[in-house]
């Protein structure tokens, strides 16, 4: 399976962690999350509902970079507005996805600026709309489509999306009661968080990458537990569904 693309590998890892009968949404950078959700629905989670972003259960004909327009929805079962989104944000979903300009050791995410300060930034980013799903939802996944020492940093310049803050104590003090970020999935590897310290650690590396590659492209000293192996590659069934049904235009392979 050497021709599996990094984004296909990411989608498969994410899909396997989504459960039947859950409710979740793809978030702003939707390409990989939407592929993951669609794959889970095709395989083990036919009752998984997509909702919480102003529409329910879309049937897109192909994948798009953003899910938040009618083009990417294709047909869908129902639509809502920002008024209902207000309620969803308080009640929370089962899962959500985030990525940013910077991600740090504790899974905090920055989308506002890099360098300088908020009102005197060296580089201003897009900001983010929904800051609540990260802690009102049962869990979320961090899935940036690049992994280098500039977007994986020791400490983010600004916490747009709180992850595990600075560990268990700070999380409790801030009232973050849910799991927060469960996995970090990048084109190179899967990371999770040490349950005692909530620090990021390497879980597995994707085919074609070494542990050293991942460390070289991470801007902080990533913990490497013993026995880190290779990420289980997509099965034939997963790959066939992805390529023939979910992503016929090959957006995950560009």
């Amino acid at each position: 399976m050497s021709d599996v693309s990094p984004l296909e590998q990411m989608a498969v890892v994410l899909a396997r962690d989504l459960k039947d009968r859950e409710l979740g949404a793809a978030g702003a950078a939707a390409l990989v999350p939407m592929a993951a959700i669609a794959l889970a629905r095709e395989l083990h989670a036919p009752n998984l509902s997509i909702g919480g972003e102003m529409f329910f259960n879309p049937y897109p004909r192909r994948l798009y970079a953003s899910m938040l327009d009618d083009r990417a929805l294709g047909r869908c079962e129902a639509s809502e507005t920002f008024i209902e989104l207000f309620g969803h944000s308080h009640h929370g979903l089962d899962f959500f996805f985030h990525s940013g300009l910077q991600h740090d050791r504790f899974g905090n995410i920055n989308l506002h600026y890099v360098g300088g300060s908020l009102h005197e930034p060296k580089m201003r980013g897009p900001g983010a709309a929904n800051l609540s799903y990260c802690h009102t939802s049962t869990r979320f996944y961090i899935c940036p489509t690049v992994h280098n020492d500039r977007n994986f940093v020791e400490k983010v310049d600004f916490v747009t999306i709180p992850g595990h803050l600075e560990g268990p104590e700070s999380k409790r003090a801030a009232g973050l009661m849910n799991e927060g970020p469960r996995f970090v999935i990048t084109p190179r590897a899967v990371m999770d968080f040490d349950p005692d310290t909530l620090e990021m650690r390497l879980k597995s590396v994707h085919c074609g990458n070494s542990v050293q590659d991942v460390l070289d492209h991470t801007g902080f000293a990533l913990n490497v537990p013993e026995g880190v192996g290779q990420t289980p590659p997509p099965s034939e069934e997963e790959l066939e569904l992805l390529r023939n049904k979910i992503d016929p235009t090959g957006e995950l392979r560009h």
Binding site: A28, M54, F55, R61, A65, S66, L68, D69, D70, R71, L73, G74, C76, S79, T81, F82, I83, L85, F86, S89, H90, H112, L118, H119, E120, P121, K122, M123, R124, G125, P126, G127, A128, A129, N130, L131, S132, H135, T136, F158, V159, T160, I161, P162, L165, A174, G175, L176
Partner: protein
Amino acid sequence: MQRDPKLVDLDEAMALAVGALAERPDLCLGGLFKQSRPVALVRALLAAGSKGLNLYSSPGAGYDVDLMIAADAVDAVFIPGVTLENRLCPNFRAAVESQRITAHALDALSVVGALMASANGVPFQPIAALKASDVIKHNPLITEFECPITGDTLHAARAVRPRVTFLHAQEADRWGNIRHLSTMVYADQLMARASDLVIVSVDRIVEDDVVLDDPRRVTIPSHYVDAVVHIPYGAHPTASFPLYSIDEEHIDAYADLGDAARKGDGAGLTDYLAQHVTGPADQQAYLDRIGGAKRLQILEQEAAEL
């Protein structure tokens, strides 16, 4: 006596908007990211020379906000996410980095809550789902308070009442009853109820019977609307689903000019504004400029195939 239609021409609508914004420059824009943005109204406002605006929107915006910044019409942006989605907004970014405008750190619930409070006629909307983000420390719309029921610490989003709101929808009747035919309606209904002066551009005007035969299809009753302007393709280069799709090529070419300006070469962007904003005498002249019927047919085809 006869009932007054709310259908007006673009000049009349702009006279209303310019006058209101001179009193208080708080402008709110409908749609979301690259869909149903009232771009023709925005271009007309820029051509009329509006300056010093405070911009509100549904929680995500891009091209139109960037264009207004390029035209030097903006003082402050109160929008949580400003992005072209596939790339950053070049003029937004450059203006914040050089401190020519203030981009407030906000989130979706504060903006939606602030509009809900205004729409509902109450001073604030409680929010119980804001925790631990640095945005909370800087967000100018919220204040911490103790909940009188639970004793928890909550946030109050103060009511925001835009002086003017521009929306774009697919259809209206002459009385100002608005029909969105798109799958999503974004925050348009909320904004219409939250604002002082509401001006809506529509791609087509329908007969009274179309509205009367299906009143549940009216997304915004004319009660909340002050003026309707018939502007075919009024959302271009954003989409007006299901009639026409997003003109990604146009937006991308614009963003390239914006990025060049950000790096010091502003000639292309200046020319773009002259060709597309201040130059065209009317919407037809603008449509000719962006590729005319041939280009629009491609966008219609894409929308029809979804």
